[in-house]
Amino acid sequence: MATAINVNNVSKRQGNVEALKGVNFSVNRGELYGLIGPDGAGKTTMFRLLTTLLVPDEGTVTVDGFDTVKDYEAIRSRVGYMPGRFSLYQDLTVEENLKFFASVFSTTIEENYDLIKDIYAQIEPFKHRRAGKLSGGMKQKLALSCALVHKPSVLLLDEPTTGVDPVSRYEFWQMLHKLKEENITIVVSTPYMDEAKMCDRIALINHGQILKISTPKDIADDFNDALLEVKGENLYKLMLEIRKMRTVKSCYSFGDSLHVTFSETPDTEGFKKELSELGQGGLTITPIEAGIEDSYMKLADE
């Protein structure tokens, strides 16, 4: 498989902060690649390196085979970029924004209409509305259309779903899957762990370092500790009790249940009995497979 992006041992300081420390990863052509990590993990710095807006202090970055330092102009004409905020002209209409960005890349809306059709069609009824008056979900769609209007070979999306409600987020990922079929390489960052499962491969990033690179499925499979899901009547009290137990390694809340890991193989029945004796009611305890968030927390904790 051809490599679309190669990040080789990259370090970058931003002010006093070491934003990235010896980062390595590569993205295959046509892959949907996720950079998963919280705010301040170094995701945005990584995107700015990929888009040639920053130069690495150490290491090299190549996009489509071009070096981001030497051949930055070649890269700039072939990537589509959506920065962290929806970078649109709020005082221009939907159509004017799109037209403008098309002309920036010396193309027209008509020329690449096929590629953006599905996305733009959803906002076309509002094409005379100013971008500033659109809802979060619509802004996101317009920004994506603008980033795609020149048919880029690599699409770089920095936190496109932050602050957007779950429904719009879900739709957005559907759109990305469609774009993947056009053989566009997509790198997307997100702080929402549950979105990781939508990617082909993910890199978990924290404090400027890559914790792990894998497919979403393998990350969960690599989770070596036994994991129990515990439900009960009063989760908060239950959590406090479980944390006091000697064999318990970690206990985190997950929605309506708790995920508990142990330092030695747990005895599910004994564990349940122990909790019942402490006065916890309505207990159900099930061994489960780890999810990406479980993995992330375990890796970040180590």
Partner: protein
């Protein structure tokens, strides 16, 4: 405050807010009890922020009644402000002030007694594990710590209710859970929590959840009952089923 409503800290009765022809909040009715963690969900533009502003006494309702902590949102905005705490993702602390200066400032604003501030802020800093960082500027703290600190500052004056507007956006998974543990603790002490979030797993942490669609409250129940009602395994499914009906954006 009379006994009858002693346990109802937030009451909304047909609460409505119109901007011109646009009905941002459309006759919402619900009650929140003391010590409850109440999740206030909705898609972007569903009217959450407008409703929250009315409860905080920042915006006068066009129609309907509302009371917060026993005070009328229409006529007693000043009393309401003294009895609530507020924190949002966007603004919570002054980035260019030090940790202890922020605590002092907000404690002072909410009228905590001078003598109490020092001892209690030291106790707070120890509890959050931030004592070594007390002289750091807030902007130098990781986001997760910042938000935990902001929440602790928002409840420093022991308000009856604390309003949290997307408090955990972008916060890493561990810090997010630690944040919710602080929420549980506060609820345990009888502080009512009114929270909005885009993380559906966090909706599960709430005692009850309301979901706003186009200015109305379309569902209100415990997460468990909602999931049963909509036949889904998680809150994400409930939310999607409801929000799909939405007709308007923001």
């Amino acid at each position: 405050m009379n006994d009858e409503m002693g346990n109802k800290v937030i009451i909304a009765e047909n609460l409505t807010k119109k901007f011109g022809n646009f009905t941002a909040v459309d006759h919402i009715t619900f009650e929140v009890e003391r010590g409850e963690i109440f999740g206030f969900l909705g898609a972007n533009g569903a009217g959450k922020t407008t409703a929250m502003r009315m409860f905080c006494g920042l915006s006068r309702p066009t129609e309907g009644k509302g009371s917060v902590g026993g005070f009328d949102v229409r006529t007693q905005a000043e009393q309401i402000k003294k009895n609530i705490g507020y924190m949002s993702q966007k603004f919570s602390l002054y980035e260019d002030l030090k940790v202890w200066e922020n605590i002092r400032l907000f404690a002072g604003i909410y009228g905590v007694k001078e003598g109490e501030i020092k001892s209690r802020s030291e106790e707070l800093l120890h509890r959050l594990g931030l004592y070594e960082e007390r002289d750091s500027f807030v902007k130098s703290l990781p986001l997760g710590w910042k938000q935990k600190l902001a929440f602790s500052v928002a409840i420093f004056h022991h308000p009856k209710i604390v309003f949290l507007d997307e408090p955990t956006g972008g916060v890493d998974p561990i810090a997010r859970r630690q944040f919710w543990e602080l929420i549980y603790e506060a609820a345990d002490q009888g502080i009512t929590i009114f929270v909005t979030t885009h993380y559906m797993d966090e909706a599960e942490y709430c005692n009850r959840v309301s979901i706003m669609v186009d200015g109305r409250i379309d569902a209100l129940d415990t997460p468990r009952n909602l999931k049963e009602q909509f036949g889904t395994t998680d809150m994400d499914g409930v939310f999607r089923a409801l929000a799909r009906k939405a007709k308007r954006g923001d």
